[in-house]
């Protein structure tokens, strides 16, 4: 039904600060919605601190669900309804038009009013008035993108969410745990170390990050409060302490300990510090991830000889194997609704590592990636539409994203060394 083809287009986004990421769309869908976001009418005399319409345009374009008309190709730049000639926009084959105006409301207080019009039905879909300080204009832009996206696709937008990832220099002697907007802008380093940092995991409220710090004596698990920067050591047992994952209620942490000689899944209550051992097998058990019910955990196990994904019930301890296709299936991450998981997949020994999705009701496996090398660490956006992952591309570690249906792909190459271990944060509200 859906005619799909690959088109290449390069978009530079958010080139404001030094260490920010650039997003490069490598594949979109044929049936993306044509939309025009008219440059905002600004009544002030100074230059605006952020190009809101520009941010909205790149947000929508990057989602793959929209094809965005360049302002240069527009016949007019209206900012009021009476200046919107639907016929003109139909001639340009546009289905939706966004117009907006921004004005200064007192000291450092901007007021933005935008309207979304349906060109063919000739009616207004959305009108909103928002106020913001200069440093919030980017948030406002992402919020507008979210609203438009949801109105037109029926899916909640994730432009306001954040991602966590680890950057490192090529010699791997310095590591930064950073968070940024989902478009890579406004990067903020939350932790720096000469030791390797990996497996960052968001708390469900988006206020804390759990991660592993691989010190000389071995791996340790920390939970860090993002607002205060306070770092709490959760686990430093003998052997491996790794792979933290917050429970859906945010009160518990699943992780991997090998203090008994072998990597096993444990669950610790973060307030009572009560530990429960979940698995007990001589093979490797690792990479736990919670099912949305908080009663089951999926994990990687080598118990069948090669790593495969399993699901364990916390109540009964019953373990069920979920993946059968391929020689290497590991680090599964569930979509927020638990309908499907994404994982690192190798179809047979010697074949490339890819990101694959698997429908949990039907067990159907779909390989999503193709252009990158050594694909790792998949993380699903909270709306279940995109998967961000780490990969090698032109001999560097980069982040890349692919839509769950495999139709949209983009790269997030860093300007500052290698980027690894992405973790897509939750909705923030």
């Amino acid at each position: 039904m859906m005619k799909r083809f690959i088109w290449l287009c390069l978009i530079l986004v958010s080139v404001s600060a030094k260490a920010e990421l650039t997003i490069e769309i490598t594949q979109g869908i044929a049936s993306s919605i044509p939309i025009s976001v008219v440059p905002m009418k600004w009544s002030g005399t100074t230059e605006l601190p952020e190009n809101i319409a520009g941010i909205v345009r790149s947000d929508l374009e990057r989602s793959g669900h929209f094809s965005v008309l360049s302002p240069d190709d527009m016949l007019s730049h209206p900012s009021e309804l009476e200046d919107v000639y639907f016929r003109d926009w139909r001639l340009l084959k546009q289905e939706y038009v966004v117009i907006a105006q921004i004005k200064l409301n007192g000291q450092d207080q901007y007021q933005i009013r935008y309207q979304l019009f349906d060109v063919f039905n000739e009616r207004e879909v959305l009108t909103q008035t928002l106020t913001a300080k200069a440093n919030q204009l980017r948030d406002i832009a992402h919020r507008i993108s979210d609203e438009i996206y949801e109105q037109l696709t029926g899916i909640r937008g994730v432009f306001s969410t954040r991602i966590a990832y680890v950057t490192t220099n090529p010699m791997r002697t310095h590591f930064n745990l950073a968070i940024a907007d989902s478009d890579g802008a406004r990067e903020k380093v939350v932790m720096s170390s000469k030791y390797s940092i990996f497996s960052p995991a968001w708390s469900p409220d988006g206020k804390r990050l759990a991660y592993v710090l691989l010190e000389d004596s071995g791996s340790k698990v920390y939970v860090q409060d993002l607002a205060t920067g306070d770092k709490q050591l959760v686990s430093a047992n003998k052997g491996i302490n790794s792979a933290p994952a917050f429970s859906p209620d945010g009160n518990k942490l699943a992780l991997v300990l090998s203090k008994d000689g072998n990597p096993e899944i444990y669950v610790v209550d973060l307030t009572t510090r009560h530990w429960i051992r979940v698995t007990n097998h001589y093979a490797i058990d690792t990479e736990p991830n919670w099912m949305p019910d908080g009663q089951h955990i999926i994990f990687t196990s080598g118990r069948a000889g090669k790593p495969q994904i399993y699901r364990v019930s916390l109540e009964s301890g019953y373990i069920e194997r979920l993946t059968f296709e391929g020689s290497y299936n590991a680090r599964a991450r569930l979509a927020q609704d638990g309908r499907f998981l994404v994982m690192v997949h190798q179809s047979a020994k010697g074949e490339p590592f890819r990101i694959a999705s698997m429908d949990l009701t039907r067990g159907l496996l779909q390989i999503l990636t193709s252009d990158t090398f050594l694909d790792e660490s998949p993380s699903v956006s909270p709306n279940g539409v995109m998967v961000m992952y780490a990969a090698k591309y032109n001999k560097r570690s980069i982040l890349a994203a692919v839509s769950v249906d495999g139709d949209v792909k983009f790269l997030v190459p860093s300007k500052s060394g290698d980027v690894r271990e992405p973790a897509w944060g939750p909705y923030l509200n």
Binding site: S196, L214, G218, E287, P307, Y328, A330, V344, L374
Partner: protein, 181 residues
């Protein structure tokens, strides 16, 4: 290249332990065994230099040349000890049995293929597999310890089999009998 430094080390490290804080112990061992990555990642360069000098001075012709080999390699996604490395491990076992005050930390490492966490576990398997082998050879478990660095501390950086095969390894690091963790 540097012969006989092991015995020297065992003596030396005892001496160092007397005055050095515990935090730099693993650094010392790293520099002595000559692992490139370890050296580049650990801090006090001055310490390393002095240690090396002392090592040379105290070197005595005691040890088996096989003891010089402190890295053994593994097959892809495997943790079994390959036959060609058994002789090396036997030599280390003999030395440890003869020198109960010596102890070893095995570092397990992986190549970059596969997931970070799975490789961390696999690295531990490799370290433990060497450890068990030595226990079977009669070494006291109290002299042996292991730590996994997964794929995080490659010996070489790159993405081809010749590099990967160098990174799938267990490193044997001597230190004193004093447990530091």
């Amino acid at each position: 290249m540097q012969l006989n430094k092991l015995f020297a080390l065992s003596v030396l490290s005892l001496a160092i332990m007397g005055c050095e804080s515990t935090s730099s112990i693993s650094d010392d061992s790293a520099s002595i065994n000559g692992a490139v990555i370890e050296e580049s990642q650990t801090q006090p360069v001055g310490d390393n230099g002095s240690v090396d000098v002392v090592t040379e001075e105290h070197a005595e012709a005691v040890a088996d040349p096989l003891l010089e080999q402190k890295v053994i390699y593994f097959g892809y996604d495997r943790a079994e000890i390959l036959p060609e490395f058994k002789e090396v491990l036997n030599a280390h076992a003999k030395f440890l049995v003869a020198n109960p005050q010596s102890s070893i930390v095995f570092e397990g490492h992986c190549d970059e293929r596969g997931t970070v966490e799975y490789n961390l576990a696999l690295g531990e398997r490799r370290a433990n597999s060497v450890k068990s082998y030595l226990v079977v050879q009669g070494v006291s478990p109290s002299q042996l310890d292991s730590v996994s660095f997964g794929e995080e501390r490659p010996a070489m950086i790159g993405s081809e089999e010749s590099i990967w095969s160098q990174n799938r390894r267990a490193e044997i690091n001597y230190r004193t009998a004093v447990a530091n963790y």
